[in-house]
Symmetry: C2
Subunit: 191 residues, 2 copies
């Protein structure tokens, strides 16, 4: 009979033990460190690790359309259409952050919200974790953007969203995940 590992055993298999940590950079949003690690075979290697406070994103449905925001993404040097999202404030609960970001970026309050899933965006080099929510029963209101925040808001059908993925107007992991989750919800009733 196969041994079913405990959660701790599962997490420790292939562990890379930290021998040393060098702090390289501490910025407004991310920080960077390089860890010297001992591999399972005893060899020594390094790991480049970006630390991030974590974020939330919201699949918000209004009149059978998904609310999206368009904004400039400097690392890509282009505009992107994405679901509303943002970083966690210190000490903030993900659900609270999701309600706040939806309101700030789109003006919508939501009558109901629940978690769909959560995921690390780049587990090879970063610890950024996004918690994805599903918001319904939306009530339209005013956007509350910071002075230095530039984005526009629209709503699109599932067909448009799938078309935008093909055209790479939608081309980020969280939004594609949300579009697929929405498609599955429409097909199965489950989210």
């Amino acid at each position: 009979m196969r041994h079913k590992p405990s959660k701790e055993e599962f997490n420790k298999k292939f562990e890379e033990v930290t021998l040393d940590t060098e702090q390289i950079f501490k910025g407004k949003i991310i920080s960077l460190q390089v860890d010297k690690v001992k591999l399972p075979n005893g060899n020594i290697s390094t790991r480049e690790i970006v630390r991030h406070p974590g974020a939330v994103a919201v699949l918000a449905i209004y009149n059978d359309k998904m609310i999206v925001v368009e904004q400039y993404r400097k690392p890509l040097e282009k505009n992107q259409i994405e679901i509303p999202a943002g970083k966690l404030d210190p000490g903030e609960e993900p659900k609270e952050a999701a309600i706040r970001e939806l309101k700030e970026e789109t003006g919508f309050d939501c009558g109901s919200i629940k978690q769909i899933n959560s995921f690390f965006t780049s587990p090879g080099f970063a610890d950024e974790k996004i918690v994805l929510f599903f918001a319904e029963d939306l009530i339209r209101g005013e956007m509350e953007l910071d002075e230095d925040e530039f984005l526009s808001c629209e709503s699109i059908t599932l067909e448009q969203a799938l078309e935008y993925i093909k055209e790479e107007k939608i081309s980020d992991a969280k939004t594609i995940t949300a579009v697929y989750a929405w498609q599955i919800y429409k097909l199965t009733g489950k989210i």
Copy 2:
């Protein structure tokens, strides 16, 4: 009539113009720079940007099961179950990289492979782009791991994959995207 913006107009809306770039770090895998930018309102801000060579990932189906690998992810300090994936070698085409990574990490050759989509993992602070492939008609062979690469390979059903997402044993964006794409394929015949 609403003006339909060209791809160039779309990409330049809300542009943040680079005034200066400071190179912070150049590592084995990622590099980090801080750009000073002019915002659309004329204000000055900074952007922390991680550069990454890009990667591929493969949804590989064998006997109606998805091939996954288990490996330690240092930024998360735990093991993760993910689809086979890896960085692009310099000058390498994504499809070629996908075939290579599938072979190295799982031992499988594939009879057919096609692109599902592509996505940026963290467009707020990184330019990492993953091209996701769908591989079928697999032929079992030997794994070809590097000396310092530690992972184990298994295959799981869709139901197990969805359960692993709930348990957070699967908790990375590319694998969740792949699982959802597979579920949609099983429901609609389209991928």
